[in-house]
């Protein structure tokens, strides 16, 4: 817990434009390299996954949240703590499935897509699919296999950005998590 004190509340300020532009440069470079939107989505997701599996350590150390008892609690932690901490936004958690294994994160604004306008030739690009990877990767490290996808995206003209998360299963402790 001593580590925790090191990590807490020293949220360093970073220029959001620089952050947004950095991400934008990454995506456009991928677009240039792969020339295929689906492939870019995959790469972004993979990168996100790799971020997620690392970021979770930082998150747990910093946030000092304990073990979640159910998926609803997880959802709240993601929305109110994690998004707040890393992206400075607090999405709302809605659209729970009756079974309670699926919910939506509604982002009023997505800091990744400031300034971004998708050109017509990138219809299939899921610009922020990195986020899906991050969520998937970090939850996998806490033994939760989830399916994450974008249901709505302001870039495609939707009013809000909606990330749909579905719980798949608990991962057994000793199952080695492959680094894709």
């Amino acid at each position: 817990m001593s580590r925790q004190s090191n990590r807490t509340s020293d949220s360093k300020k970073m220029n959001s434009e620089l952050f947004t532009l950095t991400y934008g440069a990454l995506v456009t470079q991928l677009c240039k390299d792969y020339e295929n939107d689906e492939e870019v989505n995959k790469q972004l997701d993979k990168m996100g996954y790799n971020i997620g599996v690392r970021l979770i350590e930082d998150f747990l150390a910093r946030s000092s949240v304990g073990r979640c008892h159910d998926f609803r609690e997880t959802a709240d932690v993601i929305a109110k703590v994690a998004f707040k901490m890393y992206l400075g936004v607090t999405p709302s958690v809605t659209n729970w499935s009756p079974a309670g294994d699926e919910f939506s994160l509604i982002l009023e604004s997505n800091p990744l897509v400031d300034f971004v306008e998708l050109p017509d030739n990138h219809n299939n690009l899921v610009y922020s699919s990195l986020l899906c990877g991050v969520l998937r990767g970090s939850l996998e490290m806490v033994q939760m296999a989830v399916d994450v996808r974008f249901a709505q995206d302001t870039l495609r003209g939707d009013n809000v950005t909606e990330i749909r998360m579905k719980f798949i299963k608990r991962i057994e402790e000793n199952l080695p998590a492959g680094d894709e």
């Binding site: 532009l21 934008g24 400031d114 300034f115 971004v116 306008e117 998708l118």
Partner: protein, 158 residues
């Protein structure tokens, strides 16, 4: 212009602002157009000529202003020149990107401040365009956001 009026019936006629741009252009550092849009009722090429020739004045102003106030430069260049029908205003960013707004001369109740604020809006919007990772600097601007902002200025409270 008359046909544009009915487009904005819903707008508040009492609004102070009464400027309506008839042409808005963004010109690259190398003096070629990145964006030029004019009211559809008019001959577009005419505005190309108007804006193109206004660059003479812009260049002249930049070079003379540069001599006078090297550091604290006013981006707004003011009225570039009046023609019979239009008034042409200019604005230049520190990166030498120029904005030109052409307004109808019949708009007598012009206020410099309003023109300034239009340019500021244009500048902000242009900055957003530049920040779009998919925009390649130097290419013609095709942003829808920019387009709609420009449209708003052209229709604004006629």
């Amino acid at each position: 212009m008359t046909c544009l009026c009915f487009l904005c019936v819903s707008r508040d006629y009492d609004e102070l602002s009464s400027i309506m741009a008839v042409c808005i252009a963004v010109i690259a550092k190398e003096n070629y157009p990145l964006y030029i849009r004019s009211v559809p009722t008019q001959n577009e090429l005419k505005f190309h000529y108007t804006v193109h020739t206004s660059l003479d004045v812009v260049e002249e102003k930049i070079s003379s202003v540069g001599k006078a106030l090297a550091d604290q430069r006013e981006l707004y260049l003011g009225l570039l020149y009046p023609t019979e029908d239009y008034k042409v205003y200019g604005y230049v960013t520190n990166s030498k990107v120029k904005f030109v707004i052409v307004v109808d001369s019949s708009n007598t109740s012009l206020r410099d401040n309003e023109i300034r604020s239009m340019f500021r809006k244009l500048h902000n919007s242009f900055t957003d365009v530049m920040c779009n990772p998919f925009y390649i600097p130097g290419d013609p601007i095709q942003s829808k956001a920019f387009d709609s902002m420009v449209s708003a200025m052209m229709v604004q409270a006629c």
